[in-house]
């Protein structure tokens, strides 16, 4: 049974979003990391890149496969997590503690289209 954290928003494609003011913090769920297995590489955009809700912004890769990352929200990337780029296995150890990118949110109302923790529990069983 994978862990789901209350108070976050979730995309059907298994990314989580934490909203702090106008900043969105994005990672992948515990369910997603478990499905992927050992993560060996993370491909992230650089600060300044533009991301769009439900569009690919990078990838997390296990030994065997690359899995696209889809942005849960639109905006501009303001930071990427170098610790995770350097040690991708951190995501396997703590998916919710290992954020990938921070986004300056362009359209706050987009969060209404995301799942709550309660709803996400149903699809990540």
């Amino acid at each position: 049974m994978s862990k789901v954290v209350d108070g976050l928003y979730y995309a059907k494609s298994h990314e989580w979003l934490k909203v702090e003011g106008n900043v969105g913090i994005v990672g992948i769920s515990d369910y997603a990391q478990a499905q992927l297995g050992s993560i060996v590489f993370v491909d992230l955009p650089e600060a300044g890149a533009k991301v769009t809700m439900e569009a690919e912004f990078g990838a997390v890769e296990s030994v065997k496969a690359a899995s696209d990352l889809l942005s849960p929200i639109s905006g501009n990337v303001i930071a990427t997590n170098q610790a995770v780029i350097d040690n991708p296995e951190l995501i396997n150890q703590d998916a919710f503690g290992s954020w990938l990118i921070k986004i300056e949110i362009a359209n706050p109302s987009e969060v209404d289209q995301l799942l709550s923790a309660k709803d996400y529990r149903f699809i990540s069983k």
């Binding site: 297995g37 050992s38 060996v40 590489f41 491909d43 690919e56 990078g58 990838a59 890769e61 296990s62 030994v63 065997k64 496969a65 690359a66 696209d68």
Partner: protein, 364 residues
Amino acid sequence: MDTILKTCLYDRHVLLNAKMEPFAGYWMPISYTGIIEEHQAVRNHSGMFDVSHMGEIRVTGKDAIPFIEYVTTNEIQSKPFGKVIYGLILYDNGTCVDDLLVYKVADDELFLCVNASNVAKDYTWIVEHTEGFDVLVKNESDKWSEIAVQGPETEKIVMELMHLDLTDLTFYTFKYVVWDGHLLLISRTGYTGEDGFEIYGDCVAIPLIWDLFQLSGKVLPCGLGCRDTLRFEASLPLYGHEISDQILPIEAGLGSFVKFEKRDFIGKNALLMQKAAGLVHKLIGIELTERAIPRQGYEVFSGDLMIGHITTGYLSISTDKCIANALIDTKYAVLGEPIFVQIRKKMVPGIIRNRQYYKKNYKQ
């Protein structure tokens, strides 16, 4: 949809909580404890694989050797009994039906091990070409289960646990043994670049041997996931990647297993003509100079020009390098030349290199 079959070790895989996936018509374990840990176990200690899905075909009769020399590329006649010979089955146009191991049992008996996904195709192809040869071809795939035990500590562990002397088995040789009342065929072969054995037996013996190894705690169960990372690092080809019905063996760097000087074989004329005309493609190695993972199907560029595609690529577990095999236009196949691999939207730089990513560790 056809039923997906189970090997005789299926229940053990499930009990070990393996990640199972359908492969070549069988439920096969992809990994148990994790691909990286399993890969390292084979490189440094010992690991075992259920490879019962592989196909076994027995060819008997007076013309067994001339016939198999006709339908495969390597030379068998001069080899001693007990030798295992790697070769390829070709179409008339020189592309690959499959690759295989030929076990030379006797003048009138050869045992073939072929890829699981190709058994039906291979068997049909071989039988279709028996005209004029005094041979009997039997598909024995249902009769044989198989485990591969691989890694530097394997010889010692297997001999101790099975109470067998295998020191006389040199690289690419085999023998039959009777073990606990069961007939086994054991060869010093493998698909990892490490020393080890492949053990063929019936569906009673193989689970017994698996349990013996597993309960000893000395041999780690390993899945198809690391089988691929290991064989790739050791530059061993995989059907559907480095060889296929689109690729000539001489383009894939397998020319040493194609013996033009022996008697006629299927595909020979096509290969000679292609050789004379100049080969269009060449299998090369690529090492990326930035961190990214090149995967099968990704396109390779020289400047703006697409020159080929990746056949297998990984962030190599043993070398921590981002490396790949690629089939590219021969004109651009120059060691050290810069290339790019398109990975998602990025053009990632790399150079052309040899395919010896990992030094094979065979016992000669």
